[in-house]
């Protein structure tokens, strides 16, 4: 069953927390991964791979650069989840 965007956001927040220690409630839709959450490109890759596992989606290398904001990631996962 497909997850709602809210459920994806919560799952993503857990992954971000595990990688960076950021509080899950700081991970909000309008936040930029780099500007607001201070997540660098390599941590982002770890988050991407863990999100792939968690949500059963494939996020190609070329797609990662388009995921600048939390909303981009949530939307991408929502529309590509298996």
């Amino acid at each position: 069953m497909a997850l709602s965007e809210q459920e994806i956001l919560e799952g993503l927040a857990e992954i971000v927390n595990e990688e960076t220690g950021l509080e899950p409630e700081e991970v909000q839709m309008d936040k930029s991964f780099t500007e607001d959450l201070d997540i660098d490109s390599l941590s982002m890759m770890t988050i991407v791979v863990n999100a792939e596992d968690k949500f059963g989606v494939r996020i190609p290398d070329d797609e990662v650069k388009n995921l600048t904001h939390v909303r981009d990631a949530v939307t991408y996962i929502a529309s590509n989840q298996g």
Binding site: S41, L42, M44, M45, T46, V48, V49, D61, V64
Partner: protein, 368 residues
Amino acid sequence: MTDDLSTPTAPDGAGTVTPGPAPAGSTERKELTVPQGMRHARIHGLGGYRPERVVTNEEIVQFIDSSDEWIQQRSGIVTRRFAREDETVIDMSEPAARQAMAQAGVSPEQIGVVIMATVSHPYQTPAAAPMLAHRLGIPNPAAFDISAACAGYCHAISLANDMVRAGTTDYVLVLGVEKLSDFTDKYDRGSAFIFGDGAGAAVVGVSDYPGIGPTLWGSLGDKADVITQREAWTDLRPQMEDPGREDGIPWPSFVMQGQAVFRWAVFSMAPVAVEAVRAAGLTPDDLDAFVPHQANMRITDAMIKALGLPEHVPVARDIAETGNTSAASIPLAMSRMLDEGEAPHGGVALQIGFGAGLVYAAQVVLMP
């Protein structure tokens, strides 16, 4: 009926070394599982490719003070083939390899190693072999180039023979390929008429009888200058980077897509490392050191996590003071660990190298 080729046998005592006293910090030796060796190998299929364009001596002598007759007299060469400008060593290798594989009756899935012997693949890195293997649909082989000039093919056959005989793999695809026209000075009277382009391929594989005899090989480094690339690449750098030159092109530095490499190195290499331990009949708990290629501390850290490496296993972190030295990083890092007593002499180390190609190799070794 096949001739019975003799194969080397070790004389009594050959290859054995009287052990000296164990160095301080030594540990008890663990048994590694390795493939059962010494099968037979032979060449199962051959293939060749000659570029379309025939180049006559008349064409060559437009640029040198010579003649068709002189060239034929000195070299016996009447024509040679030149590849198209856009035709690469990989392009030329592909039909040769397909032919060899067809003749051998070997499918891409059966080939475990691809060795390309070439000195005219115009990239310092990555090697040509991984790209050729990809085109041929060979799934995830070990693939690398070797540089032994005109002896390259025979070197590669010898390596392939040893690999098959030792049980490392069942089938090796060997290429000898050159696009020497790219590296020939058409105004040099001594060499302009000599060189041509082409590719040859062989499939070396397991056999019921010996098909490749012992290799006699050697080298004379004191004569390195008698056949040579005239300028080192580094000699060209000042001209290439001169901003005053309108026709200047940038120096071909190595570049890297860091994020993509990080993802591959961590999440694809961790399972390979785990498998290398299992293949040696050990578990991660048995390791006395983990010595990954010193690519980036972040990769090492993420790899440890992805591996689930036990906390008691010391990890090489030589990169902090040495940087990423590519092929040199693993031996440098291991030496440091041994020198500093961080890892025990005689202990088991897991080492894994990964890089441009993309290529990788991992194995468990007993540290000296």
